[in-house]
Amino acid sequence: MRKFICSIALCAASVSVAHADQLIFSADKSGGSRVAAIDYVSNGEAVAFQFNISVPGGADAKVNLKSCVAALPKSHAGQCSFAKGQIIGIVYSDTNELLPKGVINVGTVSVQSKAAGDLGVANFVAVNREGAPIDSSVAGSATK
C-alpha cells in the first residue's frame, strides 16, 4: 500500500504543489480490518490542518491511532482521537511554522469493525498563519 500511496502523493505533488494543498488518503480493507495511510501535499502556505475520518460502525469500532501522526516532520506535532464515531486528527506547530513544501508523511490508522463500509474523509481543512482556511482538497482511494 505504501508504494501505491507514494505514487499518488508524488503525482499529486507534481501536479498540485503550485495549487491547492491536498490530503492524500489511501484506505485498504480486508475482512473487518481497515487500514488507511495519510499523507499531505503542502504548497508551503499552511501551518496546520485537521482531518475527520468516518469509521464504519461508528463508536462501536475499535481503532488504533498509535501511528496516526507518527511520521510528521519535526517542525510539527499532532494528535488523534476517536470521538463521536470519527477519527479526528490535527497537525500543528506551537509556533505556527509553515508546513514544508512537498509531500509530507503523516501516519496511518487502523480500524476493526464488523460494520459494512469504508473509511472515508468526512472533513478536511488546512489553515494559514492567520487561521484562515486555504484552498485544499482530498485525494485518495478506498480499496475493497
Binding site: 485537521q50 463521536k84 500543528y92 492567520e130
Partner: protein
C-alpha cells in the same frame, strides 16, 4: 467587548465596548456612563481581560458608582439578557453588578456580588445565590417575564470551565409563579453600581446582549477563526488553535472567544483546552 443594543422583535441590544475588528474600544454605544470613560475600556494588550472581541470594560474602584446604562428597553414585560462578568477580587461588601429597573428606578432584576457569590433577586421572593470564585469569567444569563401569578425569573451562571470539554455551570436560579404583572423594565445598568467593596483586583464586563423574546445564549467558547478574513465560523477546529497560538505569541489579537478556560488570560492553557474541544468533536458551548 462590543455589544449594546436590544435585538429581536423589540428589545434587542448587543452593547459593546469597542467596534469590530481593529477599531478602538469605545463606550458610546451605551446610553450613558456613570463614573466611567472610554479609558475604562481596552484591549488585552493593555491588560484588559476581555471575553470576546478586542475590548472589555474594566471597573477597578468602587468608591463611587461606576456603571453603564442602557435605556433601550421600553416598558418591557419580557426581558432576556446575557453578559460576561470577570469576578476579579472584591471583598468587604456586596456590590450591585447588574440592575434592570422600571421607570421609577425600582429594581426589577438585581444581581450583586460580594466576592464569594452572586445573589439574584426580583420584586418578590428571597434572593437566590450562586457561588463563584475570584478572577474567573462567567456568563450570566437571565430570562424575566411579568405575569399575574405566572411571572418568572430564571438564570444560569456558567464559567470557570478550565479545560473541560463542556462549559461548567456554576449554578442556576429560578423564581416561578411571580405575581408581578405590573412590573416593567425600562433601563439596564451594568458595572459596580452601588455598594462599596474593596476591589483588590479589577472586575471586567463584556458581551452584553439583551432581547425581548429570545435568549441570547452563550458565545462559542474557543471559536476564534476559521472564517474568511479571520472571522469566527461557529466551528471548533484547528484554525482556532492557530489563532489562539497567534495571540499567545502576540502576533495578533484574536477575535471571537479565545479564553477557553475562562480565567481572563490567553495562554497555553487555552490552546490545550481548545485542542481538547477539537479532539472531542465538541460543538459550541
Amino acid at each position: 467587548m462590543n455589544s449594546k443594543y436590544l435585538l429581536g422583535t423589540a428589545v434587542a441590544a448587543a452593547l459593546m465596548f469597542g467596534a469590530q475588528a481593529a477599531s478602538a474600544c469605545a463606550i458610546n454605544a451605551w446610553s450613558s456612563a456613570t463614573g466611567l470613560t472610554v479609558a475604562d475600556t481596552g484591549e488585552p494588550t493593555a491588560d484588559f481581560k476581555r471575553y470576546s472581541g478586542r475590548c472589555s470594560l474594566r471597573v477597578q474602584n468602587a468608591s463611587t458608582p461606576r456603571f453603564v446604562t442602557d435605556i433601550t428597553p421600553n416598558d418591557e414585560t419580557s426581558y432576556r439578557v446575557r453578559f460576561y462578568y470577570f469576578t476579579g477580587n472584591i471583598s468587604g461588601a456586596a456590590a450591585d453588578i447588574f440592575q434592570a429597573r422600571n421607570g421609577s428606578g425600582t429594581n426589577i432584576i438585581r444581581v450583586t456580588h460580594d466576592g464569594n457569590q452572586l445573589s439574584f433577586s426580583t420584586t418578590s421572593g428571597a434572593a437566590q445565590t450562586v457561588t463563584v470564585v475570584d478572577n474567573r469569567y462567567y456568563s450570566i444569563e437571565l430570562a424575566w417575564a411579568s405575569g399575574a401569578g405566572t411571572g418568572s425569573l430564571t438564570g444560569t451562571v456558567t464559567g470557570n470551565s478550565g479545560g473541560a470539554v463542556n462549559a461548567s455551570v456554576a449554578g442556576t436560579v429560578n423564581f416561578a409563579n411571580l405575581a408581578n404583572a405590573s412590573d416593567r423594565i425600562t433601563e439596564a445598568r451594568m458595572g459596580l453600581i452601588s455598594g462599596a467593596p474593596t476591589v483588590a483586583a479589577a472586575v471586567f464586563f463584556d458581551e452584553f446582549d439583551s432581547r425581548r423574546t429570545q435568549n441570547p445564549g452563550r458565545l462559542c467558547r474557543g471559536d476564534v477563526g476559521g472564517g474568511v478574513g479571520g472571522v469566527t465560523d461557529g466551528n471548533i477546529n484547528v484554525s482556532d488553535r492557530v489563532v489562539i497560538t497567534n495571540e499567545i505569541l502576540e502576533t495578533a489579537v484574536a477575535l471571537g472567544a479565545p479564553d477557553v478556560t475562562e480565567d481572563g488570560l490567553i495562554n497555553v492553557s487555552d490552546r490545550v483546552a481548545v485542542t481538547n474541544l477539537i479532539l472531542d468533536g465538541a460543538s459550541c458551548n
